[in-house]
């Protein structure tokens, strides 16, 4: 059993120092978890530390690909608004990154 970081990761480093197994490492384009070292924090903590601090919904998933922090669970943003924002994002992405 092991968790996985996907391409939603924003490389904020928050999870890396918390891992009791030192399974998390900086990589490109985003952080990764060594599946051989990850124990999902069993025996060390009540909940996986990377998923407890990760600020990005959906960035950490289990072996089934299910997000430990599903959309809306951290920000409290209603799903409908998130979906609308995702739709609008394509149009404004260039604007935001250039400002």
């Amino acid at each position: 059993m092991a968790l996985e970081i996907n391409d939603l990761c924003v490389n904020c480093w928050a999870c890396e120092p918390l891992c009791p197994n030192k399974a998390i490492f900086a990589a490109s384009p985003h952080f990764e978890i060594d599946p051989d070292k990850c124990t999902e924090c069993l025996g060390d903590h009540a909940a996986p530390q990377c998923a407890e601090i990760c600020p990005i919904e959906g960035a950490i998933v289990d072996e089934l690909g299910d997000a430990l922090n599903p959309p809306g669970s951290l920000t409290g943003i209603p799903l409908q608004l998130l979906a609308e924002a995702a739709g609008a994002q394509a149009g404004t992405a260039a604007k935001v990154s250039s400002s």
């Binding site: 928050a14 009540a46 920000t75 994002q89 935001v96």
Partner: protein
């Protein structure tokens, strides 16, 4: 003619400022002189110093341990940095080299801050490694750090060790019920904690950290984000509490919430305060403590004088190949510092020796009280009206009253926007500029074009280009006297048309 200028920055009167002085429980009096002296030359704390000294921030602290509803963690911290912007993350080694290069190229460099892009104290190793190396290689550069406060109590000893004398804590509330509407979660003792409990822990840590800093003689500034309908009224209480504990400055900043930033507030339609609402709250809090009127909400990797960012000149490639002459650079900085200190001292002396006069107003012999008037000024520095209306990236807002002239703060015209095609067409930009001047009855500038003239008049703001190159306070008072003479000040301000 030198008019009384009630500047809220600690530097304005060379000892203590108007609002916090004279009372029996004055907090500034409790700060040791040697620390107070440091504030005078800090570009972020002193309106006077910010024209002369430069500061920079280095983005070494990416992780954060809380979530704020005005922040989207895909970008930098929306409070200590800028929303919708991603800083280039530096290692402590890169950050130190960059600071030393900038301090060689810009001898006015006096302050290095770490403010993000996450929370510096959630990245203690990277943050303190940077401070440690800098104290060694450039001991003359002041260090400061900003934090959400969650890990502050645990970090105070380390902060004191590195001789960091300025700490900024972002405190948006002292009531967990208010906090629950601002912070969805915190990471605390290996758990993500949500809701009211999270706010309760965060608030307790912030207050504990504030007290611990004061006990160690570390200067504390408090930042608050004004969120209409959430904490706007409550911030008066925050101001009172943090002052009673010894914070020397309270900086109330407007919420920035745009849907395109993808934040909770942005997407749920939480509005930002208007300029007038912000100023009214700053005024209400100023009765309690020093307010910081000139904060430009600069970003986590900003470089240069306040209001400018030369960060793009110092790329990692350029920094890597730069050959440092530490001693030479330190000597140049010392020279510049001495020169600026002498200039500032001279300015203070001349202000102190000239008795304030209000000849024009007194000459009217008016018995009835005249209402105060807000005026916006376009200036590129130097204390004079010397900027074309259309070139102004910000306006300084002053309030003229029978008591004199008071600096209220800045209003940006290019807020979080780089101009050009990101701002829409010229008409919209102009309309936005006029809107930022809401509440002002006059705008003073060196020159102004035909089109903006008409738009300002339509909005009930009188453009005035007659005082070009004159000292700001003199001109503001002269215009106030003219308005008084014309009988415009006995009645309430005319309603302004929406821009």
């Amino acid at each position: 003619m030198e008019l009384p200028v009630f500047n809220d920055s600690a530097a304005s009167s060379g000892g203590c400022s108007s609002h916090s002085c004279g009372s029996t429980a004055d907090q500034l009096n409790q700060i040791p002189d040697e620390i107070l002296q440091k504030v005078f030359n800090h570009p972020c704390y002193s309106e006077d110093a910010h024209h002369h000294f430069a500061r920079m921030h280095v983005a070494v602290a990416p992780a954060c341990n809380i979530q704020c509803n005005y922040c989207n963690r895909k970008y930098d911290c929306a409070n200590e940095s800028r929303p919708g912007v991603v800083s280039e993350l530096l290692t402590p080694d890169q950050a130190v080299k960059k600071t030393l290069v900038v301090a060689s190229e810009i001898p006015q460099m006096s302050v290095l801050g770490i403010a993000g892009p996450g929370d510096p104290l959630a990245n203690p190793e990277r943050t303190f490694a940077t401070f440690q190396m800098l104290s060694e290689f450039a001991p003359d550069i002041k260090l400061c750090v900003s934090t959400n406060g969650l890990m502050l109590p645990q970090s105070v000893d380390e902060i004191a060790k590195h001789n960091i004398d300025h700490v900024t804590i972002t405190i948006n509330c002292v009531d967990p019920d208010v906090g629950a509407q601002i912070y969805p979660w915190i990471f605390w003792e290996n758990r993500r904690i949500k809701g009211r409990e999270a706010a309760e822990i965060l608030i307790a840590q912030q207050q504990k950290g504030l007290e611990a800093c004061i006990a160690k003689g570390i200067l504390v500034k408090v930042n608050s984000v004004m969120i209409p309908g959430v904490n706007d009224e409550h911030l008066k209480e925050v101001s009172r509490v943090v002052k009673s504990k010894g914070a020397f400055l309270h900086n109330v900043m407007p919420l920035i919430a745009e849907a395109e930033h993808g934040t909770y507030y942005g997407l749920t339609g939480q509005r930002s305060p208007t300029q007038d609402e912000l100023q009214a709250l700053q005024d209400a809090c100023a009765g309690d403590m020093n307010m910081m009127r000139h904060c430009r909400q600069c970003r986590a990797d900003a470089v240069g004088l306040l209001g400018e960012d030369r960060g793009s000149e110092f790329t990692l490639d350029k920094i890597a190949e730069y050959e440092l002459d530490l001693e030479g650079a330190a000597a140049r900085r010392a020279e510049v510092r001495d020169r600026i200190a002498a200039e500032l001292e001279e300015k203070r002396q001349s202000k102190a020796t000239q008795a304030p006069k209000l000849v024009a107003i007194e000459g009217l012999g008016a018995r009835e009280a005249l209402r105060p008037v807000k005026m916006a000024v376009a200036t590129s520095g130097g204390g004079v009206i010397n900027q074309h209306f259309g070139h102004a990236k910000e306006f300084l807002v002053y309030e003229a009253s029978e008591g004199g002239v008071r600096f209220l703060g800045h209003r940006k015209t290019d807020l979080y926007c780089s101009g050009g095609d990101t701002c829409g067409d010229a008409d919209t930009t102009l309309q936005q500029t006029v809107k930022t001047l809401e509440g002002c009855e006059v705008v003073l500038c060196s020159k102004i074009g035909y089109e903006p003239w008409g738009m300002l008049e339509e909005a009930g703001i009188a453009p005035n280009g007659e005082h070009a190159m004159e000292p700001i306070e003199d001109a503001v008072m002269a215009v106030y006297a003219e308005m008084a003479a014309a009988g415009k000040l006995a009645s309430p301000a005319p309603a302004q048309a929406a821009a």
